[in-house]
Symmetry: C2
Subunit: 454 residues, 2 copies
């Protein structure tokens, strides 16, 4: 590991050791031994900070505890891993996680009616209101990942044997949510350009009604799919869903938090987003938002009663299982939120960056883009079968040469061994990094005598 | 906030600002502006560290981002909040959260068959094996909170109208999990000492079979309940469940991670634990473990197929919705785990500490213990209606005087206004802190002329 990054971690860890002394001390402060230990750590820490500045010294900490390696992917590399880009924490989120990591940290000031989204200090209630507004929806709840949002909706709407509509490009977690509710799923086929159209949605609904004699209970549409990150016609499909009176779940795992999303304008009944995928938040985190009409159902409060005690459980929500997302994932969502709101306004810049990179990659003869082109998303699937993969036939590392060459240049996130069809994302990278990436692909191409158009 | 604690946070945050510069830099390192900024932060940081040592300086950082206050409950106070005690992060867990906070940090080395509990680097797979072994069960999965463990089990076992048995002291999340599966719940009544006995369990099962004509599909028993933290006869009840061939879910939210729990010895089919409640982990986190027999059902893999694509989803598990608990909550569980294993061996010491404190509190005339006594758990419900509450009748702050007096002495976690029946926990506190607590109760009693036996 780069020594300065190593030393930054060592300094952070030393401060946690000091913090631990405060934690172990009486409210009156550390005792003599504690003070001595603070002094010792502090003196060493000052040296460590000098080492950060100068890049000197020897690594001291090899692992967290006995065996957990220190992770430096975001510090030492340009990370183009397709699903990691927009989940990377902001500095504010990292500060929040330091302060609020303890288990029930959200609950210090929990007062009646005892529900997470009602807590006013810190302003978790206000965050919920802002979140709903940000998504153009009436109500929002934080959930442990987008999949738990799907599950809440399928569990509410789908009974045994019911049909839910998804698409041939839908994420597997939508399938699992439907399976979990004992429902069946039918896929709207993508067209030859791998786009889901409103016509295709209407045809599929008609086919299901005609052949199976049931109207689907739910339609789930990924605004951008996980394979190509192609944009699908969510506006048109929402209209179709409305015509058939089928509630629409907008899956914004790849849109909520990176681009503007207005659920009301789209015509969505539910909007689901992913915190760790697209909202610069710790996992597992996400959001489920609904119109007021559907909020009544998906956020219905508990009705069950204890037969002996006659206990009821107030305003706890059945699908949320009470409180949902306390602690680190929640506070990272909250701390990143102002930055997330701001960044969605600059989505065009992200498109410009991926387009620039792809133009440069396409100049490497044989490279093609499998995603729709021009791009509407920073995540893109490329095909380098006729460029970078040709090298792997004779290279002693085979396909691994490519990720290895990338890694040597400080680029992480290409699946090791992948040289044919693979995905990358430039989301959130600076122009400097995007140019560095483009130059790196060129360098590797030239090193292995691939033809590069100038 | 105590200035030295304030300065510790400021130093941690400054290091995150340095880390952000590395994150924004090319793999070749920071540019001239970046270097200048590192130097500036580092110089200031050295002063901040001197301030930590000496307690000098002025507070600089008032909030994280615009509005999130810095949390100092664990650093500045003795925290006796009943549910926070055993979820407090270890120093290793805090280091893990710093390193692994980013959304998909668990997934850097995810390889076929692409499932969280199969990842070998970092050794998430090994952790799952150790976790199962630690609980005396065959298989274990991490889940986003104990409630998600209950949900997986009820969703697997309970169909519409089915009956699950819980107790009159069961946690509300068990009720919500059953409600979520469209089941009904019946409570085993506690006896006059607020204990759930095997006889009472057998009677309830008999009653349900006799009156409702159905054998219950599940029996859920909290080893220690959330109200009194009384110990219930899990061994006897497991035997009863076996006689009626009803699967037993052992709810170890208050035991797994603080005391030895051997699911096999107990005779449990499922063991559920809470990471943020009792395993020194970030929320939401927990564990669901099962015998190999039941693991096949609750961890069944997906069977659903796409009708257009014929897609299947490999070994993803339906109830887990694929991967479950990535990032911060998982890595805090892993980093705390060796400490958690070790601390369960010293459960007796924790009982000795709460017993010492209660003896001292009982010397304040009028104070009683509502939990079973002698104690078998560090969490305890006390009744101070005839001691501390008598003061509130004439105090201008009314009941709030008590939490205010506690807070003045650096003690947090007493519900503001509560002076009659309230809960506390001494879990994980040093003897020094326990004595300080006892002395503080005495001081307050004496200040308000309550009678204290010497």
């Amino acid at each position: 590991m780069d020594l300065r990054i190593q030393k930054t971690y060592e300094a952070l860890f030393a401060l946690e050791d000091i913090r631990e002394i405060f934690r172990e001390s009486l409210p009156t402060g550390p005792d003599a031994d504690g003070e001595k230990e603070i002094k010792r750590i502090a003196e060493e820490l000052k040296k460590t900070i000098s080492d950060i500045e100068s890049g000197t010294g020897q690594p001291k900490v090899r692992a967290i505890g006995n065996s957990l390696p220190i992770r430096d992917r975001e510090e030492a590399y340009i990370n183009i891993q397709p699903i990691q880009a927009a989940g990377r924490l902001t500095a504010d989120a990292r500060k929040a996680i330091i302060s609020y990591g303890d288990g029930y940290s959200a609950c210090d000031q929990c007062r009646k009616p005892f529900r997470l989204d009602k807590i006013e200090k810190p302003c978790i209630a206000g965050f919920h209101r802002e979140l709903a507004e940000f998504l153009g929806m009436d109500e929002a709840r934080v959930v442990p990942g987008a999949r738990r949002g799907f599950q809440a909706v399928t569990s509410t709407l789908i009974e045994k044997g019911d049909i839910a509509i998804a698409t041939s490009l839908s994420h597997y977690t939508e399938f699992l949510a439907v399976e979990n509710s004992h429902g069946q799923i039918r896929e709207i086929p993508a067209d030859k350009n791998n786009i889901i159209t409103a016509d295709s949605a209407a045809e599929k609904i008609e086919e299901v009604i005609r052949k199976e004699g049931k109207t689907p209970k739910l339609l789930m549409i990924d605004h951008f799919d996980y394979t190509y990150a192609n944009e699908h016609d969510v506006y048109g499909i929402a209209k179709v869903a409305k015509q058939y009176d089928i509630p629409l779940l907008y899956n914004g795992a790849y849109s909520v938090g990176v681009m503007p999303v207005d659920g009301r304008k789209i015509g969505a009944d539910f909007v689901v987003g992913s915190g760790h995928k697209s909202m610069a938040s710790a996992a597992p985190s996400g959001v489920l938002a609904a119109t007021s009409e559907w909020a009544e159902e998906v956020f219905r409060t508990t009705q069950i009663t204890g037969d002996v005690t006659n206990r009821r459980f107030g305003i706890k929500e059945v699908e949320m299982l009470g409180c949902t997302l306390m602690g680190a994932p929640l506070f990272t969502m909250m701390a990143s939120f102002p930055h997330v709101v701001e960044r969605t306004k600059h989505w065009d810049d992200e498109i410009t960056k991926i387009s620039f990179l792809l133009d440069r990659m396409l100049a490497i003869k044989g490279t093609t883009v499998l995603s729709e082109y021009p791009r509407k998303h920073a995540l893109t699937k490329v095909d380098t079968t006729d460029s970078f993969d040709t090298v792997s036939k004779t290279h002693k590392k085979r396909g691994f040469y490519f990720s290895s060459e990338m890694s040597k240049r400080g680029i992480a996130g290409v699946f090791p061994g992948a040289t044919k069809q693979w995905k990358l994302s430039t989301y959130g990278l600076s122009w400097e990094k995007v140019r560095y990436l483009a130059d790196s692909f060129d360098e590797i191409a030239e090193k292995y005598n691939l033809e590069v158009a100038k």
